[in-house]
């Protein structure tokens, strides 16, 4: 193992031991993967979206494999913030890994109330405001496509959170930069990108949409170029750290996101196929970083961006 490559990642004032986090929605509420993943090795864990009350989610089938990808329509099933605090938070706190709690709601007030409940709890590094889930009718993505509403909901969480607030962006809009800028104006500490792409598959046997919810969110390697593009644009235009995700399976994929401007990455769908996907990325990063001439993750962040005016002559 190469030890002289610095894997430390900084997201604002949060320091991660390495830049690889579990993506929200793919890693449960904490304990589920404990027999299959060495969780203490992860840079952090973003748990599944938590609402003020329990949500029952969408009818099955909820997943459908697609070429190099996965469609899902879980519908943000969750036990509610109080049950999360009671049943799962003690385990996560004990683990000591950087914990990010994904926050969902139908209304601005619901987001605010989740944030208020979590504000009293220790062991949470940041909240991730989910304004980008494509699988619910109200809330979620509708906030993520409208800069004014995004501002409102992020503001409500920032006012109550008492800790850094990250905002998860939707790729299903041509206003992603405006939404990101609104999140920044509202006090967000970081942006995470991207959530899933809205898609659909048809079950030929049943002559119906394959997913019980009709449409779903596409993830996996199929969406990696979309994620890289959004991270590149957002990180160039908005002066906030960006956590990149979308189809990352290997250290090389992670490096692509770092060069595009991500300060850290999240791995999601890959974990379903290989529970050790995240730890393999972590293990392989030093060699890949060194191979491409970087002594640290930080050096690689934004390496693909064109030089700023005035720097051009130096290159």
């Amino acid at each position: 193992m190469i030890r002289d490559v610095d894997l430390t990642a900084h997201i604002g004032r949060i320091v991660l031991q390495n830049p690889v986090l579990a993506a929200s929605g793919t890693f449960g509420f904490g304990p589920e993967y404990r027999a299959h993943v060495d969780m203490r090795r992860l840079g952090g864990i973003a748990v599944k979206g938590v609402a003020v009350d329990s949500w029952s989610g969408n009818p099955p089938p909820r997943v459908w494999e697609t070429p190099s990808g996965l469609l899902n329509s879980i519908g943000l099933q969750n036990p509610g913030v109080r049950a999360f605090i009671r049943d799962d938070l003690p385990f996560l706190r004990e683990l000591g890994t950087v914990l990010v709690v994904n926050v969902i709601g139908h209304t601005v007030d619901e987001y605010r109330r989740v944030s208020e409940c979590l504000a009293r709890e220790s062991g949470i590094a940041a909240l991730e405001v989910n304004i980008s889930c494509p699988n619910i009718k109200e809330g979620g993505m509708q906030f993520g496509h409208d800069p004014d509403r995004a501002f409102e909901v992020v503001r409500a969480v920032v006012e109550t959170a008492g800790r850094p607030v990250w905002v998860k962006l939707s790729p299903n809009t041509d206003r992603v930069l405006e939404v990101g800028q609104a999140a920044q104006s509202a006090g967000a500490a970081a942006l995470t990108a991207i959530n899933t792409l809205l898609g659909m598959a048809i079950d030929l046997d049943r002559r119906r949409p394959a997913l019980g919810g009709g449409s779903g969110g596409l993830s996996g390697p199929a969406i990696r170029p979309v994620g890289v593009r959004v991270v590149y644009e957002v990180s160039r235009r908005i002066p906030l750290p960006v956590v990149g995700m979308g189809g990352i399976e290997t250290a090389r994929d992670a490096l692509e996101y770092f060069m595009a401007g991500a300060s850290a990455v999240m791995v999601g769908t890959a974990t379903f196929g290989r529970p050790d996907a995240m730890t393999r990325v972590i293990d392989d990063l030093p060699e890949i970083l060194r191979q491409y001439g970087f002594g640290s993750v930080a050096e690689a962040v934004g390496a693909a961006h064109p030089p700023a005016k005035g720097e051009a002559d130096e290159h």
Binding site: E32, H36, R62, V63, E65, T66, N72
Partner: protein, 252 residues
């Protein structure tokens, strides 16, 4: 973990049984539990155990899509990337007569059950679409169990549904119990018949699955109304459920 394929069988057209060297398996599987098998795509496929013998475990599946087609193309000597055994299996036989009721690819875990409980007094009721899909009949026969058989098209055994066979069996065995595995409509009917007959039943379900460890909440089946849980996860709460968990106390 990786398990090596030591034998490949084709019990019927579109059906393959792979026997895997079980020495890498952490613990002995229970009937009804499954292996979560990587198949070259994004998701693994949950496949229940068909048998355990001579240090080998079997998985028997029907080729229905890209994942199972990939798996069917594997040869002896190749390794499979598997997680498991996962999930909750069938309970030990309750006192009294017991019927194993299998439909199509729901049959294999019931053969494994019969293997695990050689001294149980078992009736075996099997049904499938057609003769080809009626798998493992000879395996039951070799254990001295002679299944009652039916097919949807009458190409083998009686013409009709396996639940018709179950209705007859229940009327003759009012204190019987049932272990069933098969497609959801069949299990729904098993639940109705056994509730009416006041006989306990355990039902093994299949569902489109993601992680296999309870994290992604993809593979859910609805819980009984008013019983506290809207959904159960097939991967970790099941795949085998006591009937009451999903259907409550009243006939569905």
């Amino acid at each position: 973990m990786r398990l090596t394929i030591v034998e490949r069988r084709v019990p019927a057209s579109d059906h393959v049984e792979l026997l895997l060297d079980a020495s890498g398996l952490g613990r002995r599987p229970e009937p009804g539990q499954f292996l979560h098998v990587a198949t070259g795509g994004t998701l693994r496929r949950p496949l229940s155990f068909s048998r355990v013998d001579d240090g080998r475990v079997g998985i028997l599946f029907r080729v229905v899509g890209a994942g199972t087609a990939w798996l069917a193309g594997r040869a002896v000597g190749e390794d499979l990337d598997v997680m498991g055994p996962l999930g909750r299996g069938f309970p030990p036989p309750p006192p009294g007569p017991l019927a194993l009721v299998g439909g199509g690819v729901g049959i294999p875990p019931l053969f494994f059950y019969a293997q695990c409980w050689p001294d149980a007094s078992l009736a075996v009721l099997l049904g499938a679409r057609d003769r080809e899909a009626l798998v493992m009949v000879d395996d039951f026969g070799a254990r001295g169990l002679h299944p009652a058989l039916c097919t949807d098209d009458g190409s083998f055994g009686r013409r009709g549904r396996v639940t018709d066979l179950l209705a007859t069996w229940l009327s003759a065995h009012p204190h019987g119990s049932v272990m069933a595995c098969g497609p959801a409509p069949m299990l729904h009917e098993v639940a109705r018949l056994t509730t009416d007959a006041h006989c306990p039943a355990w039902l093994g379900f299949e569902q489109r699955m993601g992680c296999g460890v309870g994290a992604c909440l993809a593979c859910v089946v609805p819980g009984a109304p008013g019983a506290g849980r809207t959904w159960y996860r097939v991967c970790t709460d099941g795949p085998v459920f006591a009937r009451e968990m999903l259907y409550g106390e009243a006939p569905p």
